[in-house]
């Protein structure tokens, strides 16, 4: 078909005419090529951003669950006691020190011997001067007492690992801690965690060094991975932290890695729970603090669709393992991302509780909304980038108009002759339009190739996600053709309106 098209005499004539001004034609095509390539590359960058946002939204939550020790959620079969507890907590008029709020839950009592060594929490010292957000100002500390019930064990985590549909499991112990470097100190959040944590936290990136190893975890080694904020505060921005030694609980720790966010959706900030934090093997925490229980267990499901099923399975498993009778409440809480967002999102606890307990598939609703918002934002960005790039297409189009006008001027006599032998205005118009479109499409095809190469280069050199979709290629091709028609129209029209007598006389 292409061959037939090329052998069509008018197309053939257009190609021959283009061959006559090879340099000008080539330069015009180059302009067009750059325009199309820019648009395509920008769309690839935008689409890539969009895709990575989708991935990150998915990574951030849909497939993640957390089991926390202790329980506050009222259950339907509860005989008012739990609800009364909840109300009692709400009516506590001491929000100033929630960390000290009485643990009003039907949880297994904490063995007094379990909380050792750190008898007094430094943050609770009224004389202490704090240059950081207090626990109650931190996200997630509204229920600071929630995770401290000692009901979860490492064995529980191992048992959860055997459930179908489980991808990664990481047990965690959490404390507030003061990290010292010489006479500098930084008060932050300490997470004793599992080597699998980086696999769960897909929004993480190690800006330097490495995460601790399984061997270090097995040996309860005194190694530490510090969040970006901690690194900046203690060592100063840009200074090397890896390999240095910091002190915690009067014990030396070797800094082996610095963790930061891999996405612009989440930026490290003082007081956050992830990057203003330090991480060590939970075994090390257990050894030094003489603990044996876990505060929580983080689990990722192999697919986000399994989260609800998995939450049910985990509940059943743990109830069985903990020997909880049918009429007793859980001594743990299974949280999905949505319930976490709600309970840590500043909602009044009673409202959060009511919503989380009663809205089915809540996690879907909120996360889908988040995903939709982000997608819309990134789509807007894609179109914005494409619109900026489109300016270069206009420049390319002006080039086409220029060369077509040149062609019309140079070939006025030829136009006159064609009119004399019977060409109609529309035949002349068609001829020059085909010339313009031929240039723009040839430049467009070259631009598509260049754009794909550019997108690949951007992906490789800048580490940006880029996606060249078939739709954007088709769109680029279509736009190139449209530019040819649009900018070829005026010169072609001018040619078609020539008076044959005047045209024939032109030298």
């Amino acid at each position: 078909m292409i061959k037939r098209w090329l052998s069509h005499p008018i197309v053939d004539l257009a190609l021959k005419a283009l061959g006559r001004n090879r340099l000008q034609t080539g330069l015009t095509m180059l302009g067009m090529m750059v325009g199309v390539a820019t648009v395509l590359a920008m769309m690839a960058v935008g689409a890539g951003a969009q895709q990575s946002i989708e991935q990150q939204v998915r990574a951030a939550g849909l497939n993640q669950l957390t089991v926390r020790a202790g329980n506050w959620r009222p259950k339907l079969e509860d005989t008012g006691e739990a609800i009364a507890h909840g109300d009692a907590r709400d009516t506590l008029t001491l929000p100033a020190l929630p960390g000290l709020a009485p643990d009003a839950r039907p949880a297994t009592p904490v063995a007094s011997g379990d909380i050792l060594r750190i008898a007094f929490h430094p943050e609770d010292d009224p004389m202490e001067k704090h240059d950081h957000p207090l626990a109650r100002q931190r996200l997630g500390d509204l229920e600071a007492g929630l995770g401290s019930a000692a009901t979860l064990s490492f064995a529980d985590a191992e048992a959860i690992k055997t459930l179908p549909g489980v991808q990664y499991v990481a047990g965690g112990v959490h404390e507030n801690a003061r990290v010292h470097l010489g006479d500098k100190r930084w008060f932050t959040r300490m997470h004793g965690t599992d080597v699998e944590m980086p696999a769960i936290k897909r929004g993480w990136m190690l800006s330097d060094g490495r995460f601790f190893t399984r061997r270090e975890q097995d040996n309860a080694a005194q190694v530490i991975v510090i969040g970006q904020i901690v690194a900046d505060k203690l060592f100063g921005p840009g200074n090397k932290a890896v390999g240095q030694e910091v002190m915690m609980w009067n014990q030396p720790f070797e800094v082996v890695g610095v963790v930061t966010s891999s996405t612009w959706v989440v930026q490290p900030a003082p007081g956050d729970d992830q990057f203003d934090a330090v991480y060590m093997p939970y075994t090390t925490t257990h050894r030094l603090l003489n603990l044996s229980k876990l505060n929580d267990i983080t689990i990722t499901a192999a697919s986000s669709g399994q989260v609800t099923t998995l939450a049910r399975d985990i509940t059943a498993l743990l109830r069985q393992r903990h020997g909880i009778g049918d009429n007793q409440a859980d001594d743990f809480t299974v949280l999905t991302q949505a319930t976490r967002a709600l309970t840590t999102g500043g909602l009044p606890p009673s409202v959060a509780r009511a919503v989380a307990g009663n809205v089915a598939e809540l996690e879907k609703v909120t996360l889908e909304q988040l995903a939709t918002t982000l997608e819309r934002a990134s789509r807007t960005m894609t179109w914005l980038l494409a619109a900026v790039a489109a300016v270069s297409l206009v420049v390319g189009g002006i080039g086409i108009m220029n060369i077509t006008l040149l062609s019309v001027t140079e070939r006025t006599r030829e136009i006159g002759l064609r009119l004399a032998v019977g060409a109609r205005s529309r035949d002349v118009m068609k001829q020059f339009l085909i010339e313009a479109v031929t240039i723009s499409l040839a430049g467009g095809v070259a631009g598509i190739i260049l754009g794909i190469v550019a997108a690949a280069l951007i992906a490789r050199t800048l580490n940006w996600a880029t996606v060249v979709s078939p739709v954007s290629v088709l769109l680029a091709f279509g736009v190139a053709g449209a530019v040819g028609i649009f900018f070829g129209w005026y010169p072609a029209k001018r040619a078609s309106l020539l008076d044959p007598i005047v045209a024939l006389r032109r030298e």
Binding site: S7, H8, P9, I10, K16, R20, R413, E414, G416, L417, R418, L419, A420, V421, G422, A423, R424, S425, R426, D427, P500, I501, L504
Partner: protein
Amino acid sequence: MPLLETRDLTKEYRVGDHLVHALRGVSLGIAAGEFVTIVGPSGSGKSTFMHILGCLDRPTTGQYLMNDRDVSTLPHDELARVRNEMLGFVFQGFNLLARTSAVENVELPLLYTRQGVVKAGERRKKAMAALDAVGLTDRAEHHPNQLSGGQQQRVAIARALVADPSVLLADEPTGNLDTTTSHEVMEIFARLRRERGLTIVVITHERDIAAYGSRTIDFRDGKVTSDLHHDQTLAQSSHR
């Protein structure tokens, strides 16, 4: 009944503030098979007359009948069709497309027929036949810059013939040629008229070229000043 007939043609156009009367009432009839030569000084209106005959221009007033059909008021596209089907043009400057072979130049009118583009095979066949009529089949693949002036004009005549018109219109066809070649070209016109019964109208300002015609019309100041019918055999024998 004349093939081409004009009735009181006038043509006026503006050049700046001047109103130029190019034609001031020309009434002529040209019968099928006539070989008309038109002579006259420049500015006499002969070219304007030719443009109207060629349907490239329309008269200000008056009528132009072709086969008794008034073509002076036809829309542009219809005029293009008349030019394509009825008329063949030969110009002083040949007007061949550069970098295009002789045979492709000859094919040109066949790209614009009423039925659309003539198929490539048939186009080539017709073009070769037309080249044969001017004796240039062996130069079919040559480009204009590889041909002599006389050869180029013969290619242009072949192009005028290819769509099988009834009338050939030639505006100073020998103006760019030397004497020998000029006579060769005029011989071709005479032969085409003899063999095919073509009606031929040639503008010239050379008397000996004008003598090829069976009829010579003089133009002066937009009017016909003389209209002479020669004895056909005499006209031909006098140049043998």
